[in-house]
Symmetry: C2
Subunit: 386 residues, 2 copies
């Protein structure tokens, strides 16, 4: 309950971000104002015009004092920050998923959330071999320069975070609790190490305890942050399969490690492989598969860092991406899509009819072009950037 | 060199079958005469008109006396027989492959070659677990009523044959040696048991020893006899992968058992799964997948047994298949194919352009219809039967 100095923008973002209810209206509100402060200052009539309902208007006007004080306290630490939907630092890949959170609480280096990453997930009670495999894959992925994203759970998640840290690499833990609540408790030390060497992220405000219903929704953030999801071991019914299904829905790669048919913890992986996940025997196969998308993400980051309107550069990644008016993609499908895109926002249906490509094809092509900074998306409609 | 009593038809078939060289001309020769004896009696001019070359004509006229005597000796045993290309007992599924042998030497029950079967193949030096899996899968397949086809090799093949025998089921061994030459020698007792409880089959005449070059071609017969091929364990370079590739080319199902990423003998299986083979954890999955094709094969056998022109029924499988002139398949793709098929033999290219189906789709549909007795194929051209 201390009085910590946080800036007016964060205060405004907390007021909007903690108002509860659906996110769509609050996204629109943040998108159409220059800042959260401007959105807050616009007043109830303006909020309602963006779709905020009575409960949300009331919550913005009359915030939960105790909760806000807790958030302010937490934010007073230098390595703690919040990222709002309108923030240019909001992670590009996560922004792309339909149910992206409006607000992220980040402890550690928020630049990690932009770093190309692979989600390594699986059973909370793996076999000894599965635990070793998780550590080995994470170690190799981190050594190759990729971040390892996972959920800080017991078992595979723990081994994955630890493997990335042992390699001296980056790792991101996505929590179903508040960013300051390690769960399970046994992972308190690991939580602290991840905060110091990577990032801990949650959509839940500080102090939120472990609630069963928050864990499945945590999985969408893991899948959404990562270029691809690797399931190391999973029983036939397992949260890791939910993460994998979400990754697949978001157009990301899904990988699974096979195992003995006598290992019940391999069943979930075998099911994923049957359903189309890539069977991988080594981290090199994962790296080779996600390489192209990772390069695109690096390009997007470069483009953003070169944009004077973007926030402070968290990491120096070098030259800007030259955006030529007469740019022509080399691939014929991309050419078709580029011609089909105008400066007027265009919906997916129309793009399908214009290009005769499938929704799945278009979806991954648009993501790549968005990451390259060629295309922008608003309210589900796509247009050329600039 | 004894003087054994074999009939004139077998003598004639041996003369043509052992003439060497390409098989296409000799297939045509057998197809256009009522019997091998009639084909032989037609004379050199007629043989040449079917495409037999000078060497073949000479070999038919002046056969290798010693080799023929050895074959006659072998044929004098009651459980030994030969099956020629023109024989209605020639296995329906094997007949379908492009490089089907002209002549088969069969020791045991030739009806086994018509029995719906699964090929169970793999490494000659499997892990202990792989050997157990091969035996377990074969036992379960045999228990369900399927025959198990394999190659009598050490390792997985041996475990597969033994598993089927232990279940009291049928098993077929396809040899790269003569039908009377167990290879490896250590499998002499197994060879004898298979002959007694199933069938041993070879395209090579009795007395043919183990020659390196005959083993890969043996694999095509394994793949060709079976409804599907299951690879239990295989290194990255392995004969079992050749069998699997052939099965896939013949439009048959390919299955592979996954394993630990640390087991080098699982690598070949993982590669097959990546290339599209079905990942299977149990025999039930194999049975479910091949069920429809197995039912078709049973129909074809029923139809053949009801045909008074077919050879002696080896097994009583019941009622004949009613062939209605106005028959219409239920499936729209099959309807399209049925309309595209006339009573004039039609090549694959034309069927593709008429139906706009792919060669792979047509190939499996035509096989099913051939097995149902709806379609016949001659020289690679298809027509409605009757």
């Amino acid at each position: 309950m201390g009085k910590a100095a946080i800036d007016g923008e964060d205060e405004a973002l907390l007021a909007i971000g903690l108002a509860g209810g659906g996110v769509a209206a609050r996204r629109r509100l943040l998108e159409t104002h220059a800042s959260a402060q401007a959105a807050l200052a616009a007043g109830a009539r303006n909020w309602r015009s963006h779709g905020l309902d009575d409960d949300q208007v009331l919550a913005v006007q009359d915030p939960d004092v105790e909760l806000h004080a807790r958030c302010r306290d937490w934010l007073s630490a230098p390595e703690h920050q919040i990222l709002g939907w309108h923030d240019p630092d909001y992670p590009a890949l996560l922004r792309r998923i339909p149910s992206a959170p409006l607000l992220l609480f980040v402890a550690g280096d928020p630049a990690c959330l932009w770093h190309p990453s692979v989600a390594v997930v699986g059973s909370r009670s793996p076999s000894v071999g599965g635990r070793d495999n998780a550590g080995d894959f994470a170690h190799a992925l981190a050594t190759s320069g990729l971040a390892v994203t996972s959920g800080l759970a017991a078992g595979i998640d723990t081994a994955a975070h630890a493997g990335a840290l042992a390699a001296g690499g980056r790792t991101v833990a996505v929590l179903g609790t508040g960013p300051d609540v390690p769960y399970p408790r046994a992972n308190a030390a690991l939580h602290a190490r991840i905060k110091a060497a990577g990032a801990v992220v949650s959509e839940h405000p500080p102090g939120t305890g472990a609630r069963r219903e928050n864990f499945p929704s945590r999985n969408r953030i893991i899948a959404g942050l990562a270029l691809g999801t690797l399931v190391v071991e999973a029983a036939e019914r397992s949260g890791a399969l939910i993460t994998a299904r979400m990754a697949s829905e978001y157009g990301r790669d899904v990988f699974a490690v096979p195992g003995s048919i006598h290992n019940p913890m391999a069943r979930g992986c075998h099911r994923l492989i049957r359903d189309g996940a890539g069977l991988v025997e080594s981290a090199e196969e994962v790296i080779a598969a996600i390489g192209p998308l990772a390069a695109d993400l690096a390009e997007a980051l470069r483009g953003r860092l070169a944009d004077p309107n973007s926030g402070p550069a968290s990491e120096g990644l070098g030259a800007s991406l030259p955006l030529q008016a007469g740019w022509q993609p080399a691939d014929p499908d991309y050419q078709r899509l580029w011609r089909a895109l105008g400066h007027d926002p265009t919906g997916m249906d129309r793009l399908i009819s214009r290009t005769r490509l499938t929704a799945a094809e278009l979806s991954s092509m648009l993501l790549a072009m968005e990451l390259e900074g060629r295309v922008c998306v608003e309210h589900g409609r796509y247009s050329r950037k600039r």
